[in-house]
Amino acid sequence: MKRLIYSILFIVILLFAFDRIGGKILWELNKYTKNRILVKINRIENGLSESVVIFGTSRANNHYVSSILSDSLELSVYNAGLTGSRDIYSQYISLLPCVAYKSVPKIVCLELSPTDYIVKDDDPYSAIRRYALYIGMSEQTDAVFKEAGYYPYYQISHLYRYNNTAIQLLNGLIYSRNEKAEDNGYIPLPPPPHFPDTLKNSDFVFSCDSNKVKYIRKFISLCREHNILLVFTVSPVYLIASPNEYGVLKQIADENGIPFFDYHSAGLYLDHPEYFKDNVHLWDKGARLFTSVFAHDLKMYLDSVGFFKQEVE
């Protein structure tokens, strides 16, 4: 029995040492990785200096061409959209470091998706796991992890904080990404072998998750506290929109005086499958056309609210 206790104790001590040393090594290595997602997260976490920042999932990442927006608005633009950030919690965590530094964005465009407010069967917080290595950096970020129930596990194991990112991190140390293809955060998608050929119905079941709605409101409040002009957007999809798919989000936007640019229900490009990589993603050609339309609409809106006049003053 004594032998067994000693063995278990030895393993626990060894495990603790490996865990803490491994955590430190990975923290350092993370600074050198060239993995796209991790480079972007690192950039966001270290504060962004651009005037316009776009948040959202892969749809945001692949649909908003930073240079087109920048040319049209004559403002610096960064596309902070991240593949897999499929809920409002990760958008909120991404916004936190942006307002923690001196240089705060003037405009934030939040690309919304139904997953930002509907109830889903799987773990609603799972997308925030990739931010786990930044635990302990800000109280607000920690609060989200506590709410998700992950916090104690990440406190126990520092290696576990890298469970979602370790392989990307190592991969990013070996392979260097094609930086030339990127445009201030925007990543163009190549054309697909086959364009989507069937116009399917959007298949979401719209049951509202009150906690997600709470976080949308927190996102709005955070922008308001820092005088950031917030804009909601929904880019095109090759799907037939369900009625009221974005009803809840539009209502929140109305209540808070937030403009809602809806290119989804408007059916933009429904007769142009050749702009899509799949039913929910535009490839580069479609994204460039869409960004031009959006840049024009956003500029008109900014003109109408006197944003540029305020800038000059």
């Binding site: 032998r3 393993i11 576990y160 890298y162 469970n163 392989i167 190592l170 070996i174």
Partner: protein, 467 residues
């Protein structure tokens, strides 16, 4: 309760501590029985009634067989046990498939006969515990095992939690006697069990689930991928299913070992087999020996004419395919293996001594054949499997290659391959079994760190649970 859930990681040490703290064997077994039912009831409590029914039926039947003096009476009890157990299995697992297939057949013949559907979920592990319980009935009938008079001991044999839901399918002659001996807390057994469990978790979380991300991405979106991706996914799937199932078996064997029990080995480096016949001596050993003892040999085995021998082999493998699931894909998978085994038997491969280049060629050919058959096992329909095979041969383009995922698979596969080579070829390298205490313990800590870093820790189900 899943082995890869936090619940199990809390449940198991608590059960072990209480188990060893109980002084009397009788109470220990009762506690283990309660813990096993608790473990099972974590899925759907009502399905524990099915487990209890199967246990009660085989228990009573075995007593009946024991008490009957005449052969006819014994056979009647055995038949009752087989019919009742297989009826439950058929109702929950095969009824919908049979009804649908019959409806379709009648429709082709111009008869419209809609069959009622049975809308209940498949109870977890029903095929495993039913076969274990049936094996006991048959063993008692054959006089190979003594009847167990104590209902609770027998119930523990059927429901022993480490192997309840996905095997190994134990034999009464092997496991039942172990419940009659008071197991003591043995340092070597505990450490061996922990090492087996950790290697099992590695196979499941770091290999199988990593492979699963690629395989699912391709197999669940066939229209989005080309032949190159089909080929790569089909070459990765054999390792996913191996990691998943061998991983489960090792955690089960390890958990039992910690408590002092020995379960039978279920896998012996199957992809080193140089013939498909040899593959079945290494893959899911507890099931293949079950089918050999309770289906193949009663059919006559190979002690009949040549043609009848081949027929027996084919039937055994078709039934084995059907055991895996109510879908034509499994039946085709089983039939394919049966046909290959018949060909090997005809060509005399099983008895042929192989070495050097010839062995390597046979090994490669065996892996390719097994991987080809796995396509049917993994595909949703036979038509999908056909599409994949056609795509591999006609549309072989650059596959979908998510670099990070491929790197994770490559890393885990390299470690597994090293360990398997070491065991298969008896390399003189000792890590988990080193005579140095520090090396053995460092191995455990390092393996846990690898799993924490690169394992898929989202609590995915084990593939074999559906069977």
């Amino acid at each position: 309760m899943l082995f890869n859930s936090l619940n199990f990681l809390l449940f198991f040490p608590v059960v072990c501590i209480i188990y060893f703290a109980i002084p009397a064997l009788k109470w220990r077994n009762l506690f283990l029985l309660a813990a096993s039912y608790w473990f099972y009831m974590n899925w759907k409590p009502a399905y524990a009634l099915l487990l209890l029914t199967s246990t009660a039926v085989t228990y009573v039947a075995a007593l009946g067989i024991d008490r009957c003096a005449g052969r006819r009476g014994k056979r009647a009890w055995l038949t009752a046990s087989l019919v009742l157990n297989l009826a439950i299995l058929f109702l929950f697992k095969y009824y919908n498939f049979a009804a649908e297939s019959l409806s379709l057949l009648l429709e082709h013949l111009g008869i419209a006969l809609p069959m009622p559907e049975f809308g209940l979920l498949l109870p977890v592990g029903i095929s495993f515990y039913t076969f274990q319980a049936l094996g006991y009935s048959i063993d008692v009938y054959r006089g190979q095992t003594a009847v167990e008079k104590n209902f609770f001991t027998y119930a523990l044999f059927v429901s022993f939690f480490p192997q309840l839901v996905a095997g190994p399918i134990e034999r009464s002659t092997h496991l039942l006697p172990q419940f009659k001996v008071k197991q003591r807390l043995d340092y070597d057994a505990v450490m061996e069990g922990i090492r087996l469990m950790i290697w099992g978790y590695f196979l499941k979380l770091a290999l199988a689930d990593r492979c699963g991300t690629y395989v699912d991405a391709v197999y669940n979106n066939l229209t989005q991928h080309n032949g190159g991706s089909y080929l790569l996914a089909s070459l990765i799937f054999p390792f996913q299913i191996y990691g998943d199932f061998a991983g489960y078996s090792l955690v089960a064997i390890g958990a039992a070992r910690v408590m002092g029990f020995r379960l039978m080995d279920n896998f012996r480096r199957p992809y080193f087999a140089a013939t498909v016949t040899d593959f079945w001596h290494r893959w899911h050993i507890s099931l293949s020996t079950w089918f050999k003892d309770y289906v193949y040999i009663p059919l006559g085995g190979n002690r009949v004419g040549k043609a009848r021998g081949y027929f027996n082999l084919l039937v055994t493998f078709v039934v084995s395919g059907a055991w895996h699931g109510a879908n034509w894909t499994f039946i085709v998978w089983g039939a394919l293996h049966g046909i290959i085994l018949c060909i090997e038997k005809f060509l005399g491969f099983a008895k042929k001594p192989m070495s050097g280049a010839s062995k390597f060629f046979h090994w490669l050919a065996t892996f390719c054949l097994v991987a080809l058959a796995w396509i049917f096992f993994r595909a949703e329909t036979v038509a999908d499997a056909g599409r994949i095979i056609k795509g591999i041969f006609t549309n072989l383009e650059m596959p979908y290659l998510p670099l990070a995922d491929c790197m994770a698979i490559f890393m885990a596969l390299s470690i597994v391959l090293f360990k398997e080579c070491k065991d298969e070829f008896h390399w003189n390298i000792h890590l988990s079994d080193s005579r140095y205490w520090v090396v053995r313990h460092t191995y455990i800590a390092a393996a846990i760190c690898y799993i924490l870093l690169f394992g898929v820790l989202n609590g995915d189900q084990f593939i074999y649970f559906q069977f």
